[in-house]
Symmetry: C2
Subunit: 528 residues, 2 copies
């Protein structure tokens, strides 16, 4: 593999700034190869100007052309081979198997969006024909379709260096629908970001895509990010990260003279409710499943189950022991970065410092802080403490969860009502439990984007029916998703054309339906 | 007709506060019947509590039940008969014919949303079935549908006392999809608002709808409005009004610990571009059509064409005379309220005060200010002034528009680029003109929600293909519309149910599709 150049991708140019940073291995603290250039405001400015110029030509490309581009991005990522996985593993300490899976997901996601671009019905074409003889007034011919918003700024995440970063779901959905993308790379994995950006750049060149369609900048703090979000040429933002980070971008976007939509995925405790009969009959299985889910990826999933709620009693006493044994056996593992470990330590200690919260279970093996390791912990509290101490419902990013022991189902519902908005909520129950839990389902449906029955929230399918987005603070707008084909709806807007001659209409709206799209004509949907 | 009681509608109760206001006829300044109670914070609090309690039961009602309710609202409004039209005419000075048409539109809108509620496919059901044998991991069963957001606050508009007020498009779309509504009545037509609120209240009682589903409050300034928007029980906002008013609500909503979506329709100049051959061949028709559109409803339409752009030359010289003659003949007419007239005077004078702007045409008959009359005015300027004076692209709410004379098509495009986001943009052209205007169409499609060819922007159809919403500052979020069936998308959010037993699923997601909905199953759409 060629050495990393560390430069910023500003459309077709590679830009050097002078000020650099390097990253260390989270595992041993040794510096990794590569010095990465911190983008200057002028680099952002050039990327913005290029994105603005590219927006029109990119929007005019056919769906088939954009599909070929996305597929080429997928191929170029695969062509990076082991080098990509090795660098990502070195930068994030995530296991090779997990990263290989994540690459598969990333490539699959690009291909799924390519298929959507090629098929084309996402434009949601609607036609209401003229009624010249209507009384008291004639009706004009009205045709509506969705167009790209324009340049989208995407912030790479820390915890998914491939699937939610440079060529992740936000980028794929923006490109699929014809929007140029400027990525602000995550500071934790700049080498991985460079490799993937290079793959996109190769695809841009190979497919004749306007060069301004893709730029990627390295930056520190939120200076470059806020510059991008405030710029009038930027029309939307995709973000996956912390609540504070997401909120800062939302505030910047809302304060613009022309506010723009921000889709920020921020914070979620993913509560898991264990109903009484399920606890009585399969506490051991749930203890193990919960431990596996909360420690997956060292607890660094946005869907990590951070709160488990169960009713006090003999079954819970047994479950406590089973969970303690399962957690004791969990091996400490390195977190993504030393900084994330420090934040994990701080948030975990803040939780454990709440009066009425105690440690229920912890990994037996000590975490080696020099190797950025975190050990799993389960804390415990009661409903009274949970309901009065806001700290208990704050997300702890890492392998720490909280058991809330409640006296009865009424108290369980009170805990559910106290929860903020969530990405997911899970219920474990036997058939009999579930039959009686209709009110709990209804309550949780109002608070979470996805409800899981007898499963675990980690593992987010990329498909049509996925919803990855929930009420605040889980995401900035619960009406949208960042995973699945519906994610492309974030970056498009409808335009209605009134009385435009057929030959001047975009093909999607012409009478003959030359693209063979599914359309709504006079209120009736079909390929007509 | 019974005398107006002037009370606030707080769920099933009518509340008196002690502090009242009255309204005068805009035509003669005489006080109209009725003393209206200014809602207190406690009234808003009660309305909020009632809305929160009603949200669950209302969401559980079937689509057919909600459809019957909306249809009953329509019937109750019609049953108010002439009294409604007379009161609305007295409060707004709008002509009886216009108000009768607006009532028809309001009732038609309610029935269209009733049909959508009954048909039910707006839930956008999606099913991806389990693949237990998938490698490397099984796929769970995933099913997604849209649910109501929860209580919605609707602000009545000044200029559509029926179609964009108490039972207007915002209320109809929120109720259709199962959201309780709290209306803040517009100060200008409290009697009309009371009559319509009474109609909704009657329908609530007749249809067994939970009483908290509808409340309506009178208020002054934005005190009650901001209290409502900041309250954690409110989940979305619909607003039609001024840019300052909309922006204040957006800011309040964005500053909440849990920001909520605001759909605000605020400000638009609706530019109309006349291409050279069209100007040469039918300047007289365009002059008359433009005059009619800009003076319709005394220029108090959000879609009033406020800017006309044409190329300097002989044809424009002729057009100036034709437009001057047409405008001279326009009869002054009373505006909605004395306050709106004052604002119109101020904004018009601010425009006319710009160096480089002059009066091109005005109504011959003097406006009678004592009768709140406004007279039509067309100002004129050149591209250089327009491009450098921001005041020229500010909306003037009322019968005042601005002609921008440009030197050539390049300068016309420069003017187009300078424009802020718009609800509409219009192009007049012959076939030959239009063939050459592809770049102008593309430019305007990026700036406006609706493009009109050889027509006028006033007149907004309520249908499937309508888009009434554009980039900032036209509306707060160009991805949504406030008119047409797509307007209901503003107030719903998707929820995904994972591995839920079929019998516990909502009917919309059950295998047998008992509601006969159009759904997307494994990515394929159909009634399956």
């Amino acid at each position: 593999m060629a050495p990393l150049h560390g430069l910023n991708f500003v459309a077709s140019a590679l830009r050097k700034s002078g000020r650099t940073f390097a990253v260390s291995s989270p595992v041993d603290g040794n510096l990794l190869d590569g010095k990465f250039q911190l983008a200057r405001p002028i680099d952002a400015e050039e990327a913005l100007a290029a994105a603005e110029s590219a927006a029109g030509p990119f929007a005019r490309m056919t769906g088939a052309e954009r599909a070929a581009f996305l597929e080429r991005v997928a191929e170029e990522i695969l062509a990076l081979g082991d080098a990509l996985i090795e660098r990502a593993a070195a930068e994030t300490a995530l296991p090779v198997a997990r990263l290989t899976g994540e690459r598969g997901r990333t490539v699959g996601q690009l291909r799924l969006f390519a298929a959507a671009a090629r098929e084309g019905s996402w434009v949601d074409a609607r036609i209401d024909r003229a009624q010249p003889d209507r009384q008291p007034l004639p009706r004009p011919d009205l045709r509506r379709m969705k167009l790209p918003l324009g340049p989208v700024v995407v912030f790479g995440s820390s915890n998914f260096p491939l699937a939610f970063s440079v060529a992740g779901g936000d980028t794929a959905s923006a490109l699929c629908t014809g929007n140029p993308v400027i990525v602000k790379a995550h500071r934790g994995h700049p080498g991985t970001s460079e490799l993937v950006a290079g793959a996109i750049r190769s695809a841009v060149d190979a497919c004749g895509v306007p060069s301004g369609v893709f730029s990627m900048l390295h930056g520190e703090g939120n200076v470059i990010g806020v510059q991008l979000v405030k710029d009038s040429r930027v029309k939307a933002v995709g973000f996956t990260g912390s609540r504070a980070g997401g909120r800062a971008l939302m505030t910047a976007a809302a304060a613009r003279p022309d506010p723009i939509p921000v889709f920020a995925e921020m914070s979620s405790c993913n509560p898991l409710f264990v109903l009484p009969e399920a606890l009585a009959t399969r506490s051991g299985t749930i203890a193990e499943g919960f431990r596996n889910s909360m420690t997956l990826g060292v607890g660094q999933f946005c869907t990590k189950p951070g709160i488990l709620i169960a009713v006090e009693g003999e079954s819970l006493a047994r479950f406590r022991k089973e969970l303690a044994a399962a957690v004791a056996a969990a091996a400490p593992a390195p977190m993504l970065t030393a900084e994330i470990l420090r934040e994990y330590d701080a948030h975990r200690e803040a939780l454990l410092g709440v009066a009425g919260v105690r440690v229920l279970a912890q990994a037996e093996a000590a975490a080696d802080a020099a190797h950025s390791q975190a050990a799993a912990v389960v804390a415990e509290t009661d409903a009274a403490t949970f309901l009065t101490q806001p700290q208990c419902s704050e997300e702890v990013f890492g392998p720490c969860s909280l058991l809330v022991a409640v006296h009865d189902l009424a108290e369980m519902r009170a805990v559910a009502r106290r929860l903020d908005g969530q990405l997911t909520a899970t219920i474990h129950g036997t058939d009999a439990d579930l039959e009686e839990a209709a009110d709990l389902f209804e309550l949780l449906a109002g608070q979470a984007g996805r409800l899981i029955v007898n499963g675990y929230p980690t593992g987010v399918e990329v498909c049509h029916a996925m919803q990855h987005g929930g009420p605040s603070p889980a995401t900035s707008d619960s009406r949208f998703t960042s995973v699945g084909t519906a994610a492309l709806e974030r970056f498009i807007r409808p335009v209605c054309l009134q009385d435009m001659p057929d030959r001047l209409l975009p093909p999607a709206l012409q009478n003959a339906n030359p693209l063979g799209l599914e359309r709504i004509v006079e209120g009736v949907r079909g390929r007509h």
